[in-house]
Amino acid sequence: MVPLSWYLIFAALLFSIGLFGVLSRRNAVAILLGIELMLNSVNINLAAFWRYGDVTQMAGQVFAIIVFAVAAAEVSVGLALVISVYRRRNTVVADDINMMKW
């Protein structure tokens, strides 16, 4: 069995890729994708810690499922927002969506 650290390193990499995507992509849909990656890296962590900890305690798995649910809801809201912004301003570039300032 591979050691826990591999999973953690993998999850950290996945998180960093997601973070990079969020910070660097200009397309709002791509940013959402980055967020999904970051959430999934967390899920990997949760599952790994469960597997390498007390297996009878199901908290890790349950948490992961909750994160799925939240992520699904979040993506649906996020995509709805993106579509709404696109309809109004005809763009999905994050830099152009800058109404939330002084």
């Binding site: 940013i31 969506i97 800058n98 109404m99 939330m100 002084w102």
Partner: protein, 714 residues
Amino acid sequence: MTTETLMWLIPLPPVLAFALIVLFTNRSKTLSHTLAVGAAFLSLLGSMIVFVRALGVEHLGEHPFESSVNWLPLGESVETYFKIGVLVDPTTAVVLFFVAITIFMIFLYSVGYHNFGQPEGDHNQKGLPPHGATVEEHGHKHVVPSVEPMYSRFFAFLGLFAFGMYVLVLSDNLLTFFVGWEIMGLCSYLLIGFWYAKPSARDAAVKAFMTTRIGDVFMLLGIAYLYYATGTLTFREIFTEEVLHTLATVPSGFLGFSAAGLIGLLLFIGTVGKSAQFPLHVWLPDAMEGPTPVSAMIHAATMVSAGVYAVVRMFPLISLDARTMTIVAFIGAFTAIFAATIAVAQNDIKRVLAYSTISQLGFMIAALGIGAYVAAVFHLITHAFFKALLFLGSGSVIHGMEHGVLHTGNHHVDPQDMFNMGGLRRKMPITFWTFLIGGFALAGFPLITAGFWSKDEIFADAFANGHWAVFITLALAAFMTAFYTMRQITLTFLGEPRTQEAEHAQETPWTMTTPLIILSIFAIAYGWVGIPEDFMGLPLQPNWLHEFVGGTLAEHPETIAFSWIPLLTSLVVALGGLYLGWMTYRSVSSPAEDRFQIPLLKNKYYFDEFYDRAFVKPAYWFAENVVYRFLDQGVIDGILHSFGPATDRLGSIIRNNFDLPVINRFFGDGSAEVTYRAGDKLRAVQTGRIQQYLMLALVVFIAIGAVLYFFLMA
């Protein structure tokens, strides 16, 4: 009822009457005077029972009726109390006798004096004497005397006064004695100022109160010193041999007086105020502004007698110091002759009597000063009877004259001026005869009148003990007394009426004449109890009064051997004065013809003017300039007024140096400024670009993480 209980109860009825009249029956004149006269009668009854029982006791002086209660715990130990109580020794008994009778007579007289039963006045005004009422009878109008508007109030005051007098007489200690003394002082003020709407009555009331107050303050000092020196104020505890001996030997540190001498002197100054002796005599003549029963009761028979009674009570103490006794004798003798000379030149019927009272009180004080204890008490009693009689008589005369004034309607005629009278003997026979008896008693008409016996005893005492100065002074004063008395009788009653008003004067009702008749009986008969044992060498009964009253003192005073010289002196001055008075005034009909209207005497030796300059004006000046302008306006108001500007200045200092810069600029404006500037600077951060925010969050997260890592792990 035991005598002791009775003694406690004697003062109560009048004060109850006072309370009831003031609280409940003020509106009903009948009920008020019934209560007051009834109360006076109850007290009279109690006093007579006590007096009669006192007569039946052998050696009452050593074993007086006494009763006391623990009143005030003194705190030194559980058993030590300040005691108050009642005491009837022979002196008290005889004083109680005349006090009770005169008080009752005056209560009764007041009913008539204030025109009870007459209609209400036409234009009554409270605080003024009644003006008369118009009635219609048989088809024509005429004016009759009207009832006093504040009738009930008068009886209430009289009741309170009687209470004060009884308390004073029956006290067995100086404290309750002083309480009674002060109650009378208050009542005197209230009753002199009874017609308070008259400015003269108001001034007289204030003058009487202030003048007696001077004496009272000294008396209180004397009481305090006595209590400090002996630890008791009970008479019979003070008058023991040891206490008196201590008091006589302890120096007081004041001009070499012994403690007894100084205490005696201080108490005597109280008497000087109360009994209107020189130099505090000025209030008594002015006190005649009050209604005449008041003059009779307070300023002739009882209150001024209380002053003499105080010296009588404290005689064992006062007589310890020869110098104090000399002062007492001097003041008394001087006042006697001094006031008698003024009385000669007065035209107001009551003022003559007022000065006569001062003079006669001087006789008593002088008698006490030379140690003639019994003679002083004797004269005190006889004087109370005949002077009350004379005052009530003069009130009756004034009443008759007022009747005349109402008849003619000429209100400019002074019903008290003797030169407006004359010939009243035919108009007012009862008043005339009783007044004649009173006047002759005052003058000391030989053998039949009481005044003769008491005055004669003073002369005999002064002569026998070699007090020549006092003897001669009093003889001169007695001569003048007889002279002005005859002047008064002649001007008032004899000759022909000098005015229309005197022509229409009328005899007064029975409530006024009955007291006159009863008092005139005493003015004659009371002298008989004190006839000297070997008078003119006759084999008479022992001098009852001397034996009885003398028993009060520890050392029974010696009986004075009969001597012709004082008797002859007494006869000469009395008869000579009366004869000269008649001779001089039988043909005088106006003040211009009166040779004794000397300005110096007429103006009472300018004492009022002198006191006005020396004390009243300076007091006013002091009050005006020092108290009012300097202290009140300058200091007090100055301080108060400086509070305003001071707080104003302090406030502006705080405002300018703290409120405005610190609170307003720094905290108030400052915080807003800081927030504004910070917002202005920081708003650049708010780009509205989500990725920048995330970037910033990441940087901060890393930074905080680094810091935490650095601190927690390192």
